[in-house]
Each structure stands twice: as C-alpha cells, then as structure tokens.
C-alpha cells in the first residue's frame, strides 16, 4: 500500500535555508547596524553607503533572499511551536494560513521594496 508523500519537504527546505542564512548573517548585521552604532562603539554606516549597498544588484539579491527566507523560517518554526508547545492541533489550518500568509505578504512587500 503506497501513500502519496507529504509536500512538507518544500516547507522544510525553506525553513532550513532561512535558518542557515539567518544564523550566519544576522548576528553581524545586528551588531554593525543596530547595536554598535547605537552604543557609540562605532560610527554608523552612512545612509549614502547603505543606500548604495542596498541599491546595488548584489545587495538587492541578498536582501531578496535573506528576508523572505528568514520569514518563512519563522513561519514554519512558529507554526510547529504553537502546534506542539500549546497543543493547538485543532487550529492547525488557521495557524498555517496565518504564519505562511504573513510570511508571504511580507516577502512580497520586501520584493517590491527592494527592487523598486
């Protein structure tokens, strides 16, 4: 008796990619953009530099990858945390729609903003 395999692997791949990109890039970004300058440890990167980085093709590609994948990482993981952590199995459909929905909406927004 064969069962049709779950489509979960796609979501898991998004989760893994988001988790990996987030793990290796976010700490440095948080320190250099939001913590060190605010604490006075260094001068913040100038808006001109940031605009140039975020506006260049490599920067846009990077943000288009990092932001949506990080959001889908959160959506998948948060869904399971609610599912198992609070035993909200009966709300599974709702939670899935909300988490992946929010991630999709924000990703589309990110895409539009980054490529404008």
């Amino acid at each position: 008796m064969t069962r049709r395999r779950s489509q979960e692997p796609g979501l898991w791949l998004l989760f893994s990619a988001g988790g990996t990109l987030g793990a290796v890039f976010l700490p440095a970004l948080v320190v250099l953009l939001w913590v060190a300058p605010a604490l006075g440890w260094m001068a913040p990167p100038s808006p001109e530099r940031l605009a140039a980085v975020a506006g260049g093709i490599p920067g846009r590609l990077f943000l288009s990858a990092l932001i949506p994948l990080a959001l889908y990482h959160w959506a998948h993981r948060f869904r399971y945390t609610l599912y198992d952590g609070l035993q909200l199995y009966h709300l599974n459909q709702l939670i899935a729609v909300l988490t992946y929905g929010v991630a999709t909406v924000l990703s589309v927004g990110a895409g539009i903003l980054v490529w404008r």
Partner: protein, 247 residues
C-alpha cells in the same frame, strides 16, 4: 553510610484503583545495586504484587526501561549510588498506556515498526549458489550505529512529540528504517520513503534531540531523522524536476 534507600513506585492496579498511586518502600542500599535490583528486592521480599518487565539485567534486551526520577532509563543500568540520597521515584515509561504498575503497552510501537519494513528488501534475490552479499567495513560503518537499537523505547518516553501526537512513528522506528536504508544490501529505500515522508513520519519531528540524549546504545535517532529529512527533501526536489508517476 546509608543503610537503606526509599524507593517510591508508581502503582496502578485497575482492579483496585481508578488512578495510579505512589507506594513507598525501604530498600537496603548496596553499592553495586541497580534500580532493578531494588525492584527485585521489593518483589521478592516486600511486596510480591509489584509488576514490571526485565530480562537480561545487563542492558542488551531493552525490557526494563522505566522513568527513574523523571528521566527514561534502563533500570538494570542505573546505579542506586547515582541517585542517593533518594528517594528514587520509579514510574512506567511515559507515552505508553499503563497496563499495570510499571508495565506499559508497546503494541503501538510494534505496529509502527512493521510499517517501515525493518528487513532487507530486495528487488531480486540472489540464489545461495552465488554466495553471500559482500560488504566492506566502510559500508558496514554507514548503518552500524543504527543497528545497535535494542527497542527499549526510552527515546519514545523522552520524545515530547510522541506524547503530543500519538500517530508519530517515533525515533526508534525511523532510526531502524535508516538502518536498512543505509545498508548496501538493501533496495527498499523508495518504498520506505512512502511511509516515512509523511506528517506522522519524519515531518512531525522538530529535533528536540532528547531521544538521542537518553538512548543507552548511542544510536542517535535524532541524527538519523535529520539526515533522513535531508534525503527526503532531495528526493522531493528530484520529484519536482523529474516527475515520477503516482508520487
């Protein structure tokens, strides 16, 4: 010097009580005694009505798994000395219905194990005249770790997902499926993936990792499951690119 240890046992006698209760026993303390020895002392000398499973008393049969002070453990492999000054709390393995006292019903596990075909699956059998299937030490090393499983089910007691979602196949079943998937003599990988790449298969697992922590044989079922997730994901991508009929 301690003379005795208090052992508190979770009793359940359906003919007497509707809910489990605790019963306390004083057991002589001997430095070389395991929790199993204490339980056997209770059964032999104090209270013959205590029911529990045990067999080899040396950590290879997997029968004596119970919760010891809240952690799944083989009672034949847990020294009383490590639990001093006590009391030592012994309960049946979590996650399984309790039949009586410390005895749980393991039918669920056995049914799930069968679903993943835990044997060598071959498309074609070689006739004995052609000789054995040869395997190099490297090929053996691929799956050897997962073959060490003694079906003690401590991993099921440690896994919160198994308790929360009883349809979950569970760590040992997936590790044992991997033992055959990674065996060079086996050809059943695709068939097993139909059972495993399901929500109640590997995808319910969220890599808590407690299963591997409590495993007395260092099977690392958590690692087996995560590796299999990668495998299944690669298969899924391949299935998108080169669609196979019916999958």
């Amino acid at each position: 010097m301690t003379d005795t240890v208090t052992v508190e046992v979770r009793r359940y006698r359906p003919e007497q009580e509707a809910e489990p209760t605790w019963q306390s026993y004083q057991v002589p303390y001997r430095r070389e005694w395991m929790v199993l020895d204490a339980l056997n002392y209770i059964k032999d000398q104090v209270d013959g009505t205590l029911s529990f499973r045990w067999s080899c008393r040396m950590g290879v049969c997997g029968s004596c798994g119970m919760m010891v002070n809240g952690t799944p453990a083989l009672t034949c492999a847990t020294y009383l000395e490590t639990l001093l000054p006590g009391p030592v709390r012994v309960e049946p393995l979590r996650g399984f219905p309790v039949i009586r006292d410390l005895v749980g019903d393991l039918t669920d596990f056995l049914g799930k194990l069968r679903r993943v075909s835990p044997w060598l699956v071959r498309e074609t059998e070689r006739p004995p005249a052609e000789g054995e299937y040869l395997q190099t030490p490297e090929q053996l090393a691929e799956y050897k770790r997962y073959s060490m499983c003694i079906n003690c089910l401590l991993c099921y007691a440690a896994c919160p997902i198994y308790e929360l979602e009883p349809e979950f196949l569970g760590p040992a079943v997936i590790a044992l499926a991997q033992r055959y998937n990674l065996d060079s003599r086996d050809e059943g990988r695709e068939a097993r993936m139909d059972e495993l790449s399901q929500h109640d298969g590997i995808w319910a697992c969220t890599f808590v990792g407690e299963c591997s922590t409590v495993c007395p044989k260092d099977v690392d079922p958590a690692g087996a499951i995560q590796r299999y997730k990668l495998d299944a994901a690669v298969s899924w991508v391949a299935g998108l690119v080169l669609p196979r009929s019916g999958k």
